[in-house]
Symmetry: C2
Subunit: 270 residues, 2 copies
């Protein structure tokens, strides 16, 4: 019998920041993670391509009997959550957008919420629409900014470099001028840069880590019992070496040995 | 009858800097270009994945009856030129590495050559080995540096941003300290950043544009006659809109309407 698990996927390595939170919140759950490292990044690509990849990624996870699928990628959550749900059938699916919108609306006192994410996430307006849907009577304005360079900076590990500070300033200055008091980190790579982002925005701006907020909400979704005997499984579509070496910076835990899957008509494990 | 053409491929948009040179050098040749924008970038991925993609990309170009295939991607040229040649059969294949190595050896007076490129290109040591192979009696030392952030900076169009200057300084300072007098721009994205690179390295360092050098060498390879009636063809694997809008910065000419191809068991034109 295959033990059930929480299936988690991302375009690459950023989703490990969500797995970090799952480890903290649900230490007895088995995690099956897939990072599409052969086709990363998604956030600079088209909606059409992201939707195709999202469907294929979901089909891969379905092979592992998940009791829940977590879309640990804001870009997929923003433009392809319906595709994941349609592919997953009766299995519940959790994205990154909804929980962060609720948290942001509950957090803001001046009604001005900033959103940063990939080009695809920002263009989709998924956060703006999600915030408006849960704002109820509150008078909320959203201000969003695509930050294409933050993902490569996080992967390069340049959290403390002066260039990172300048790039963060360039991207965030319109949001600072807009006097947002709440900023959604709408990409699972960004928590790695939260210190430099927080320093620039100042102590009066609350940062919302979309992955962490989503992970805290998962307790209400999963029906799984403890699985202490089960081992976590980490899969990637490129060879695992880089993921293995960079992954622990994102996971914050020792990363188990990662396996490779390749896409050829259908996904097969190498 | 299908008219012959020069087939050119790259992981994405950078190869358009090579097409720019082909337009200049061979204005009567028909170009069929493929940019693999659905799977870009290649340079941060594994050799195994790059070799698989290189084979698939070559097969696509073979459908267009090329008289020559130009690998307008330093990463593929560095780690998969043998794969392209094996796939192309009798059709001649030109990569980016060899011509730039010859040019660099002919240019240097102090025998110290710098190389910048993607992680995959630098790790392969293709330039170091190529330079040593053509150095003959000359006493040459090579100094190489992977520059992962330069591709996203070039695509973001931040040629003049202070952050770009800082990042260029961080990457190039070891090469400047090594007192190279010749620097190979070993990635077809980098010519877009040649001003900031040149300003940092100083007027005594000659920059070698690998794509331009390769394009100047093509006259000796192609046997094609003039094809003034033929239209150029630009193909990408993601939807064309971003390529279409950013492409002219790399091409330096008006970009004809680009078409999309998708990968599904085999490549088919949409």
């Amino acid at each position: 019998m295959i033990e059930s698990s929480i299936g988690v996927f991302d375009s690459g390595i950023g989703g490990l920041t969500v797995v970090h939170e799952l480890f903290e919140q649900l230490p007895n759950e088995r995690i099956v993670y897939f990072g599409d490292t052969a086709r990363v990044p998604y956030g600079s690509k088209s909606v059409e391509i992201i939707r195709r990849y999202a469907s294929e990624d979901t089909e891969l996870l379905l092979q592992y009997n998940p009791s829940l699928i977590v879309v640990a990628c804001n870009t997929v959550s923003a433009v392809a959550l319906d595709v994941v749900k349609a592919t997953a059938g009766n299995i519940p699916v959790m994205g990154m957008i909804g929980p962060a919108c609720l948290e942001a609306v509950a957090t803001t006192t001046n009604g001005r919420i900033g959103i940063i994410g990939t080009q695809a996430t920002v263009t989709s307006k998924a956060y703006d629409n999600g915030i408006n849907a849960v704002a109820l009577g509150k008078n909320i304005r959203t201000f969003s900014q695509a930050c294409p360079l933050l993902v490569p900076l996080a992967e390069e590990g340049w959290q403390d470099h002066r260039a990172t500070t300048l790039i963060v300033e360039a991207y965030l200055s319109p949001l600072k001028k807009a006097e947002v008091d709440t900023l959604i980190l709408g990409c699972t790579h960004y928590p790695v840069l939260s210190t430099v982002i927080g320093n620039y925005m100042g102590p009066d701006v609350t940062l919302i880590n979309s992955g962490a907020v989503a992970a805290r909400n998962i307790k209400g979704y999963t029906t799984n019992t403890t699985n202490l005997s089960a081992e976590h499984l980490f899969l990637v579509s490129d060879v695992p070496s880089k993921f293995q070496s960079v992954g622990e910076r994102f996971l914050g835990y020792k990363l188990p040995l990662t396996k490779q899957v390749i896409f050829k008509e259908a996904w097969v494990v190498v």
